[in-house]
């Protein structure tokens, strides 16, 4: 599988960008020249220059530094939220798929119900209740994103559990736990990982949208979404405050989508053949 991923240029490209982003996020304090929250009214709304490669915002903060720090938040939210979704999804999905019957119908009915809600509505409603901040946004995005993964792993497990090697394992006397963790999840996790990668892209977009609406990451914490929100206010005089964060979101989401697409092709080569 690794070989197939590496043969897939777009996946390598996507993974490369993601790696770069992670490095940027980790070394943000080293890369950023300025304190992202440092307000300096005198240098407000300067266009891109050597001093400020991406210009400054309406409060004179260095946009480049803010964007660098924002990448931390984007990746953090993307990975942690989806990690949470992955955990919940895999547990629920594998229990439902493996045990079937009542367990299955209760869990999947619950997932069905959750899936009926437009995700953004649900997130908004919860935000209205618990208030917007990074932690809440992360948890909410995670807890509203597990259903797809649960369905995927359930479907995988439904088909995997009839595989002969599972029967063989049972004939050898393996426990449920052994079969689920040693045979079913390792073999069924592929599509879920693909969905995880796409999910990270989705979570980053969702966070950006929430922050853009003022319901996500709150200033002065920089997030691409709330930089865009601030940029919207200077539409017409500070094009850079709009263009750059938008591009950052686009490139990041693109990278994750490319990787996801590549992973999917690697797992499921017949579609492309």
């Amino acid at each position: 599988m690794m070989k197939q991923i590496f043969r897939n240029n777009q996946a390598v490209f996507g993974a490369g960008i993601i790696l770069l982003l992670i490095l940027v996020a980790v070394f943000a304090p080293k890369i950023a020249k300025y304190d992202p929250a440092f307000i300096n009214i005198q240098s407000a709304l300067l266009g891109p220059s050597l001093e400020h490669p991406l210009g400054t915002d309406s409060l004179g903060r260095d946009l480049f530094s803010r964007m660098i720090y924002a990448s931390r938040i984007a990746l953090l939210i993307g990975f942690i939220a989806m990690g949470l979704a992955l955990g919940v999804g895999v547990i629920f999905g594998s229990l439902a798929g493996y045990f079937g019957g009542k367990t299955d119908s209760i869990i999947m009915r619950f997932a069905d119900i959750m899936l009926c809600f437009p995700r953004f509505f649900l997130i908004l409603a919860v935000i209205a209740v618990v208030g917007p901040n990074i932690f809440n946004v992360m948890v909410i995005i995670g807890l509203t994103g597990w259903m797809g993964m649960a369905r995927l792993i359930r479907a995988e497990i439904l088909s995997l559990k009839t595989r002969d090697y599972v029967s063989a394992s049972r004939a050898l006397g393996a426990s449920h736990f052994f079969i689920i963790t040693k045979h079913l999840i390792p073999n069924g996790i592929g599509p879920v990982l693909v969905s995880f990668v796409f999910g990270v892209a989705g979570a980053i977009l969702t966070e950006a949208a929430l922050s853009f609406l003022g319901l996500g990451v709150q200033p002065p914490n920089p997030s691409w979404g709330n930089i865009l929100m601030e940029g919207k206010a200077v539409l017409g005089v500070g094009w850079w405050v709009i263009i750059f964060p938008g591009l950052a979101i686009l490139i990041t989401v693109l990278a994750f989508n490319l990787l996801g697409e590549g992973l999917r092709d690697a797992l499921n080569p017949r579609v492309e053949r």
């Binding site: 043969r7 595989r163 002969d164 090697y165 029967s167 063989a168 394992s169 049972r170 004939a171 050898l172 006397g173 393996a174 426990s175 052994f178 040693k182 045979h183 390792p186 073999n187 053949r273």
Partner: protein
């Protein structure tokens, strides 16, 4: 000469690599003759056939050489010219009738459009034609078939409909690509009979692609043997079957299991008579049918009905039946993988293991060979040292290379995988092995290797086998006793010799008569 193929070469581009699938073959087909094209999987027989009417996927393949038909090189023909040949002059039937028909169109429509694509007649006349054709292929109630979607028909009916479609324009050449492989034996022989009748009636030539010399024997006049993209032997059927020249052909022919009740070829098992190891009493198992929109219909399939079975230690019981007869369900019941609805299985605990048909799905693709083989000992909490010795022991018993223990299943061939599956079962010192079609998905040459291995193991380890197969020839080779299953019931249970010489039940006889 109806068709002449000269120096046909086919290359595939695959992930940047170029693979030569067919390496320059020449052959010719005469009018009104049936030519069998034999070879193992991957020998290039199907791609050769597909390339005749340029049906290989564009872009991925390069075809060179010459395919002369009706005075023209088909390989040079443009889209429209080749389209006119397809269906009307050269028709095809494929292996898998369930996927070869469009699921969202009715049978009638699919045949109509074949006719309308080549003949300028009204839809109404086309439909009349279609109904006639469906009658011709011995389908009952052609009107009903016409108005049915493919999924509502049985496999045999679908393949008949495919044949009806193929002959709808009275082609000069019919290419049949393993048309009976996916069907049960009894239906197989009916379809072959039908094809021969149609060939006579329509005076067409047939290229019959198969891996099975039994079928060749029954249908072909001339035989082409393919191996690794080349034709290695060609000749009249009788000559090839009786006096094969090429080593490969000889091997292929030898590997075909035959029903040969000759006592001297068999070693009698020095059975410790009488000790019953497995006993099943009045077993019943039914499954609910699930349907699309309305999930549970309450209808049930009775997979195993009132089965009684006793298996003595050291013996091999062959369990024979067509697909859906309940063999596999019975095996799982015996093993305790599923619970019966009623009845009882008596079997010593933890001594039965199972080997499955498909060596691809029976090994966890994400585990190393070592871990697969040692799964049983791991579950039973064996120590590291114990595991190493177990591993070495069972690998040598199954003739596997200890050095390859870190490889993953996909790095092994089909036969090796089946050995791994056997090794896994042996690793826990079983007394009983349930062999669920253990050789059906293997090529003939490997089949005989595995069968031989199983026999040897039985002797050295004094194992008891439940040998499940649809193939009477294989069962004949392996079993001491044979149980014939039909629709969930054991309709006949007797010693091997009695079954093969004087079967009582009509179904058993029908089964035997369709063996080629």
């Amino acid at each position: 000469m109806l068709l002449t193929v000269k120096n046909l070469k086919i290359h595939f581009r695959h992930d940047g690599e170029i693979v030569e699938a067919v390496r320059g073959i020449d052959f010719a087909i005469n009018e009104n003759e049936v030519v069998g094209l034999v070879g193992e999987s991957g020998s290039g027989k199907t791609v050769s056939a597909l390339s005749i009417t340029k049906l290989l996927p564009k872009g991925d393949s390069v075809v060179t050489g010459e395919v002369m038909f009706g005075g023209k090189n088909l390989l040079d023909a443009n889209e429209e010219e080749i389209r006119r040949v397809r269906g009307s002059k050269i028709a095809m039937i494929f292996q898998e009738p369930s996927t070869s028909l469009n699921p969202v169109l009715k049978i009638g429509e699919q045949i109509d459009e074949a006719i309308l694509a080549h003949r300028k007649i009204s839809k109404k006349n086309a439909r009349k034609n279609t109904i006639e054709l469906l009658g011709k292929v011995n389908l009952n109630d052609p009107e009903r078939i016409c108005a049915s979607y493919p999924h509502l028909l049985s496999g045999g009916e679908r393949q008949r409909a495919m044949i009806a479609m193929a002959i709808s324009l009275e082609p000069e050449l019919l290419i049949a690509d393993e048309p009976t492989t996916a069907l049960d034996v009894t239906i197989q022989s009916e379809i072959l009979k039908l094809l021969l009748e149609l060939k006579k009636e329509l005076r067409m030539s047939v290229i019959f692609i198969t891996h099975d010399f039994g079928i060749i024997n029954k249908i072909a006049e001339r035989v082409l043997v393919m191996k690794n993209g080349k034709i290695i032997e060609e000749g009249k059927k009788e000559d090839i079957l009786s006096f094969p020249k090429a080593e490969y052909t000889k091997k292929l022919l030898l590997a075909v299991p035959k029903i040969t009740i000759k006592p001297e070829t068999r070693e009698e098992n020095p059975a410790k008579m009488g000790r019953v190891l497995i006993e099943a009493k009045n077993l019943n198992k039914a499954f609910a049918i699930e349907k699309g929109l309305l999930r549970n219909t309450g209808e049930k399939i009775r997979a195993v009905v009132n089965v009684n079975l006793k298996i003595e230690e050291g013996k091999t019981v062959g369990l024979v039946g067509e697909s859906g007869s309940g063999k596999t369900t019975l095996a799982r019941l015996l093993l305790g993988l599923i619970q019966p609805d009623s009845g009882k299985v008596t079997i010593p605990r933890r001594v039965a293991q199972i080997v499955f048909q498909d060596p691809y799905s029976s090994l966890d693709p994400r585990m190393r060979m070592r871990d697969i083989v040692l799964e049983g000992p791991t579950i039973r909490g064996a120590s590291k040292a114990e595991k190493v010795s177990i591993l070495k022991d069972v690998l040598s018993k199954t003739q596997l290379d200890y050095e390859e223990r870190m490889k993953y299943p996909h790095q092994f061939s089909g036969g090796q995988r089946q050995r791994i599956a056997i090794a896994r079962a042996l690793a826990v010192n079983p007394k009983i092995l349930i062999l669920d079609e253990p050789v059906s998905s293997l090529d003939v040459l490997i089949q005989s290797d595995i069968l031989k291995l199983l026999k040897d193991l039985q002797k050295t380890l004094s194992l008891t086998y439940v040998f499940i197969s649809h193939d009477l020839r294989v069962v004949e080779y392996m079993a001491d006793e044979v149980a014939v299953m039909y629709k969930g019931e054991i309709v006949e249970l007797a010693s091997r010799d009695r079954i093969y010489t004087s079967a009582q039940h009509p179904y058993t006889r029908r089964l035997l008569s369709s063996v080629l």
